[in-house]
Amino acid sequence: MEIIMTIINGLSIGGTYAMIALGYTMVYGIAKMLNFAHGDIIMVGGYTIVLFFPISPIVGIIASVIFCVTVGIVVERCAYKPLRGASPLAVLITAIGVSKLLQSTAQSLPFIGSKPKGITYNFGNLQIGSVSISVLTLITILCSIAVMVGLTLFVKYTKTGRAMIAVSEDRGAAQLMGINVNFIIMITFIIGSALAAVAGVFLVFKIQDVGTTFGAMPGIKAFAAAVIGGIGSIPGAMAGGLVLGFIEAICGMVPALSPYTDAIEFAILILVLLVKPTGFLGKKRREKV
């Protein structure tokens, strides 16, 4: 019984991580930059749904996708595009700056403020025998799987998707083949931000509360999930998210380990990186001179 409950909890926590990790892995795989602001775009999505929730949940979801995509495009154009071709260190520091900027801007807005905002919404449980599983968990998992399959198909079978692979393999060669690299990277950011919005919505329904640093920790953990699964690999992100979810669930069930949950997750990340830097499902890249 305990084991079944732990598995369900793992799925429930891991589902949201997987959702965020899918967006992370898309952006990292193609734009080759660690978008620290991803977690804060989740926060933007979370606030949008909370603010629009009284009108209608559906309107809220649509609004948060639209708003996050807009923020994603603006961030990409203003902060990241000028640095294309600059050293990765510069891009990374800018991304950290954008992350802080989004957090503090949100806090300075009068209708957001520094106090957390919440919603009260109960999805109810599905009873299977003696086991009860939250409907939200099921929706999250199904959605993540759908997004994973959809993204894989999109990348494999559409022209834009294959252009993405080309850009991620070799940006210079892709450009010579007539691919508009800037456009492809923007598309990537649009997809990434839309996924962040959806993840934000799920996270809000899960936690039922949103604050200005609400996306930061899940964002970093989802990046860890993406790295564990193999960055750039879509199924890897899903797997990594679930692995992290299970770890968190197991730690949560053992009172002695519970306070150390974050440390254990990060230690596993470091171990994976040191032993197999490409993650479980990632491809090895050779560094050319």
Partner: protein
């Protein structure tokens, strides 16, 4: 005479300035310690040492460390613990210099050991991955100290260092030792960078593979940088433990690491004096802004820092702004104010100076000047190709 003065200012001006400040503030802090002095001066000293040590990793080795506060935390906790234990064992006062020095040695040593471990990660990983590992390291340190037992490190309540805490009246000891340590840090880092090792470190930053090919022992130098940087961060941590009570692990979180990073970036990466000046500037500004911005307005400070960080990085690094920043920069501006024109007859032996060694020339720059395509048609995209090609 003129030449020797120039040589002096070039190499020893920063020491002199800090030396003068050391004397001035030692006297001031002994004669009339004020609240502002007791708060602000230790913060400045800690920020300067932390920024110097981080700039070694970020500015000179070219790797991003997001867990620098973690090393400080180790220094603060272990140094503080040792100081308290010694004080209890020998019935010493907090102002005992010997205890202070031992605490600093222990804090630096423990942080250096952790730096060695993180340095190992740096051997296998670069760039974003290493940044994430250092971030994870900082978080792990924080969690471990927060959950430590009540007897060991005080757990969530923080390490109770009431015996060690100096307060306003005894702060002079921290100010004197702290400023001597700033001199020491500066001496070690500046001399390291002026040595053969320093050139090897910048060579690794600019092109690791090429550096390896020329026979530079990358393993050795990377570990060396991480160990030295961590040791000085540990020293900053020990100083912190003397200025605050209790020592709480939450203070040394990710945001603190970012704050140090902002200082280094603002000072100009790879510019030691710049890092020190911006450490002073940011700390004082932080202090004043907290005064000025009350209530909800406090958040504008964060917006301001974030914007500064983004704009400075874009200004310094954007390929499209290259010609712009060559034309309009601080140096030219100051020259303009001083009405000094560039005198081509003045030959400088730049090549012999560590801070202007042309290590920054990258393959792509050579290529893009050879083939001037980026002026035709869709500029930045074609430049992009060349740079990508060049980088690989």
């Amino acid at each position: 005479m003129k030449k020797s003065l120039k040589g002096f200012t070039k190499h020893y001006l920063n020491y002199t300035v800090i030396g003068i400040l050391l004397v001035v503030f030692s006297i001031l802090s002994i004669v009339s310690p004020t609240r502002t002095m007791a708060d602000l001066l230790p913060s400045i000293i800690i920020a300067v040492i932390a920024a110097l040590s981080l700039s070694l990793v970020v500015g000179f080795l070219g790797e991003l460390s997001l867990g620098h506060a973690g090393f400080m935390s180790i220094g603060a906790y272990l140094g503080g613990k040792v100081a308290i234990a010694l004080m209890e064992a020998g019935d010493f006062e907090a102002t005992n210099v010997l205890v202070f020095v031992i605490a600093i040695a222990v804090g630096a040593l423990c942080a250096a050991i952790c730096g060695f471990v993180v340095g190992f990660a740096a051997l296998r990983l670069r760039g974003d991955y290493l940044a994430i590992v250092t971030l994870a390291f900082g978080e792990i340190v924080r969690v471990i100290f927060t959950n430590s037992g009540k007897e060991t490190f005080g757990g969530a309540l923080g390490l109770d260092n009431e015996a060690q805490f100096l307060g306003q009246k005894r702060i002079y000891i921290l100010i004197i030792i702290g400023m001597v340590l700033v001199l020491f840090t500066l001496f070690v880092i500046q001399n390291l960078l002026r040595s053969k090792a320093g050139r090897a470190i910048t060579a690794i930053r600019d092109n690791e593979i090429a550096a390896k090919a020329t026979g530079i022992n990358v393993t050795k130098f990377k570990l060396m940088v991480f160990v030295i940087s961590a040791a000085f961060a540990g020293i900053a941590g020990v100083l912190f433990s003397y200025s605050k009570n209790p020592i709480k692990a939450d203070i040394f979180d990710y945001n603190y690491s970012i704050e140090i990073l902002v200082i280094v970036v603002l000072g100009g990466m790879g510019n030691i004096n710049g890092s020190m000046i911006s450490a002073v500037l940011i700390t004082v500004l932080n202090n004043r802004l907290t005064d000025l911005l009350k209530g909800d307005a406090a958040v504008y400070k964060d917006i301001f820092y974030a914007l500064i960080l983004i704009l400075i990085v874009i200004y310094n690094n954007a390929p499209a702004l290259k010609s712009f920043r060559e034309k309009y920069n601080l140096k030219n501006l100051i020259n303009k104010i001083l009405r000094k024109k560039h005198d081509p007859s003045e030959i400088t032996n730049d090549a012999a100076r560590w801070d202007v060694v042309p290590t920054k020339i990258e393959m792509n720059e050579v290529l893009s000047t050879d083939i001037v395509i980026d002026k035709v048609g869709r500029g930045d995209d074609s430049a992009d190709i060349l740079e990508r090609g060049g980088n690989k």
